[in-house]
């Protein structure tokens, strides 16, 4: 509505102004200078709202058994630098670096620290742990910043997305993704999907958001979940989670629906926001790998076993404990 009215209002305003300036107005009506352009709001690039924001979900996504049960490690971790012959790890070792798909704008998880110009966060720590197990050097990593929507494609050979060895990017283990060709590690973090609203908001749960705009990153699980709520909130999809925070701060959305872990990072960037509501869904985070490399999944699970014992708590304390309270690593479950 706003955009349609815009040119007409503009022309009217300009004509009035031009007439006033040139003084050749026939009637003696003063020019209405309050009659200005009704601006359509500035939005992040690629913002989509309403039904178009929700991907049509492929059917039969829920009968893959327990997707969080991963492949068990079948050997102790090899010495860094001595990867088994013909293994995926050896290919990576020979290349000289691990290619990791990560986030660069999700505070506390994977973000580019403007002070140090380095990627930092809980997920980044996990990537360094894997690199250390392969190379003995945690920094032998090439980070590829990818969006939520690129995570599956980055592992399933879609050439339009950057191809990576691992996706460590607040990646929730789900049947649908398993069926799309992603092989997950064991769960290294259990997040809960909740809502972020401004501190003055009365919203207490997703049911209060009927007809309101709720933001989530494109390709995330939150979008179909928002669309399925009986009160019918309007899903709004953007490229990055940080775009959601921009829209919340600009008053263009009423809430952001995603994992409490990500929301904690947003609340840390904006003290005028709060995390509310009961858990909408459990969001178990796993490391995504290619279906073709189960050996690598077993290796990474072995790395995670040692990370849970030594490293997990340290990273948690550094990034999350201050905002989410004390917690411990989730237990790994294996399918074999």
């Amino acid at each position: 509505m706003k955009t349609a009215r815009r040119p007409a209002a503009l022309v009217a305003g300009l004509v009035a102004l031009a007439l006033a300036v040139t003084g050749c107005s026939a009637s003696r009506t003063p020019a209405d200078l309050t009659h200005v352009i009704s601006l359509s709001p500035v939005v992040p690039a690629g913002m989509v709202s309403g039904a178009a924001a929700v991907p049509s979900s492929p059917g039969g996504a829920n009968n893959c058994g327990d997707p969080t049960a991963s492949l068990a490690p079948n050997a102790p971790l090899p010495t860094p630098g001595q990867m088994p012959a013909n293994s995926t790890m050896q290919t990576i070792y020979k290349r000289g670096y691990l290619v990791a798909g990560v986030d660069q704008s999700t505070y506390l998880w994977g973000y580019l620290n403007p002070m140090t110009k380095q990627l930092e966060g809980f997920d980044i720590d996990v990537v360094h742990a894997i690199a250390k197990a392969i190379f003995g050097d945690p920094n032998r990593v090439q980070f590829r910043a990818i969006t939520s929507g690129q995570r599956v494609g980055a592992l399933t050979g879609d050439q339009t997305d950057p191809q990576v060895d691992v996706v460590v990017r607040t990646f929730t283990v789900s049947c649908q993704r398993v069926q799309q060709g992603v092989l997950f590690s064991s769960v290294y973090y259990n997040a809960q999907e909740r809502l972020l609203v401004t501190k003055d908001s009365n919203v207490a749960s997703i049911d209060d958001l009927g007809g309101k705009r709720v933001c989530a990153a494109v390709g995330s699980d939150s979008l179909p979940r928002i669309a399925a709520v009986p009160s019918h909130p309007i899903p709004v999809a953007v490229g990055d989670w940080s775009d959601c925070l921009v829209m919340l701060q600009q008053g263009q959305v009423d809430a952001i629906a995603t994992d409490d872990a990500i929301l904690a990072g947003m609340a840390a960037q904006d003290p005028n926001t709060k995390v509310v509501g009961p858990s909408l869904a459990a969001e178990p985070y796993g490391i995504g790998m290619r279906r073709a490399s189960p050996d690598f999944v077993r290796f990474v699970n072995s790395v995670l076993e040692s990370f849970r014992a030594n490293g997990w708590q340290q990273s948690y304390q550094t990034w999350l404990a201050g905002r989410l309270g004390p917690a411990g690593p989730p237990q790994a479950t294996y399918s074999d």
Binding site: P7, L10, V11, G13, L14, A18, V21, T22, V36, I37, L39, V42, V43, P44, A45, G46, Y97, V99, G101, Q104, S105, T106, Y107, Y111, L112, N113, P114, M115, K117, V141, Q142, F143, R144, A145, I146, T147, Q150, P162, G239, D240, S242, D243, L245, V246, Q249, M266, Q269, D270
Partner: protein
């Protein structure tokens, strides 16, 4: 009334004095008409030329400046952002200067609305309305970045989106409108004066025929009045022909060495700035939008495969001795920049993000030509300034050739009319 006029004219045309009266009236009217049409036509051309120099060129330059300043602001904001939490003062200054220049140029461009360019009103209103929104987003991005919050990069991308989808298209629209107006006036100034030519030819032919008629009727070979009239008409023809030819030559010269090359260079400049923004955003927004493909497309548009083709080659072909030097510098700089960009891409693809940032920002001491983009921009700016100077010089010269011509032609036309009246009056008296 007209019903009685025609038979009366017919009746008087039957007698010699009647015919002479008609010839006198016809020729003197034609002479006055030629003088007046000459005055308005040539005065019109002269004022078109003055308008080109005094209004069209400054407004067109302002439109160019708006586009340049805005896209430079966008590229600079991204560079400053990439530089880390503390913005380098030089980049901050460059950004502030750009925003100020855009605002000032916008005010200049807006003066044109009241000079009858109502078409320009819409893009100018859009620019005026959204420029503060853009700077607001940039400040918010900076404020977050200073605190180490990654949401800053999201604000930067939103600002860039506003720039690309609203501000730059409006600036382009304004530039297109102003350029079309300018070249329209150039065409008007150089157009052939058909009406005036027809009148002058008719006047001279009439004078020749009248003299032949008179010398046949009387035993005098020459009629002083008509000779003076013919002389005045001939002088008017020669003066107008020389004045207009020279003026047109200079108008065309102003287009060839000035506005023509400036138009191509402006395209080079906007493509270069867009590419620079893409280069920076590739590093700011890693993995999101594919800015790197956009860069490659723009680089190809600017300099073809090796930096000396594309728009730069067109600019080289359009240049003259005064502008070719900076255009060659621009070509060299484009080659260096694109080579540097390849190294940056390689460093980024190899996972050496810090090195990629250093190369992009030109802070890597390894590469002497690290300022290649700025050198390209400076060289193009120099060539644009030279082109504008050429345009103004040539168009002002074109205007000088028409300085007293309009009045001159009017005076000569009146003189010719007077010659006709006096010359034929003398003969008419002989019939009384």
């Amino acid at each position: 009334m007209p019903g009685t006029v025609i038979p009366r004219v017919r009746a008087s045309a039957a007698t010699t004095p009647g015919r002479l009266t008609l010839i006198m009236a016809g020729l003197s009217l034609l002479a006055v008409l030629t003088g007046v049409v000459g005055l308005t036509t040539l005065q019109g051309k002269a004022s078109t030329l003055d308008d080109l120099v005094n209004q069209r060129e400054p407004v067109n330059a302002a439109a160019q400046q708006i586009y340049r300043a805005l896209s430079d602001a966008d590229a600079t904001a991204a560079s400053a952002f990439l530089s880390g939490a503390i913005e380098p003062a030089a980049l901050r200054d460059r950004y502030s200067t750009d925003v100020q220049q855009a605002g000032i140029a916008l005010a200049v461009a807006a003066t044109d609305i009241s000079s009858g360019n109502s078409e320009a009103g819409l893009p100018i209103a859009q620019l005026s309305a959204d420029l503060p929104a853009y700077t607001g987003l940039i400040e918010r991005a900076t404020a977050n970045n200073e605190q180490g919050y990654p949401v800053g990069s999201a604000y930067l991308r939103e600002a860039d989106n506003l720039m690309r989808t609203v501000l730059l298209p409006a600036a382009q629209k304004l530039y297109d409108i102003d350029t079309a107006r300018m070249s329209g006036e150039q065409d008007d100034a150089a157009a052939f004066p058909w009406v005036l030519t027809v009148l002058v030819v008719a006047l001279i032919a009439g004078l020749v025929l009248a003299q032949r008629y008179l010398s046949g009727r009387t035993n005098r070979t020459f009629n002083l009045g008509l000779v003076v009239a013919s002389g005045a008409a001939l002088i008017a023809v020669l003066w107008t022909a020389v004045g207009l030819t020279m003026s047109t030559i200079y108008v065309n010269k102003g287009e060839d060495t000035g506005s023509g090359v400036v138009t191509v260079l402006t395209n080079v400049r906007s493509a270069a700035l867009q590419a620079r923004t893409d280069e920076m955003l590739t590093l700011v927004d890693r993995g999101g939008v594919d800015y790197s493909t956009q860069f490659d497309g723009l680089a190809n548009r600017i300099g073809g495969k090796d930096g000396s083709g594309g728009l730069l080659q067109i600019a080289e072909l359009a240049s003259d001795s005064s502008t070719v030097q900076p255009i060659h510098t621009a070509m060299t700089s484009a080659q260096q920049w694109f080579a540097l960009h390849d190294r940056m891409t390689k460093a980024d693809n190899d996972g050496d993000y810090a090195a990629a940032v250093q190369i992009a920002l030109g802070t890597d001491p390894q590469y002497k030509e690290s300022n290649a983009f700025y050198q390209l921009d400076d060289a193009v700016a120099k060539a644009v300034l030279q082109g504008r100077t050429n345009f103004l010089d040539q168009t002002a010269t074109a205007s000088n050739w028409l300085t007293i011509l309009p009045i001159g032609v009017l005076v000569l036309g009146l003189l010719a009319a007077a010659g006709c009246v006096l010359g034929i009056w003398q003969r008419l008296r002989e019939y009384r």
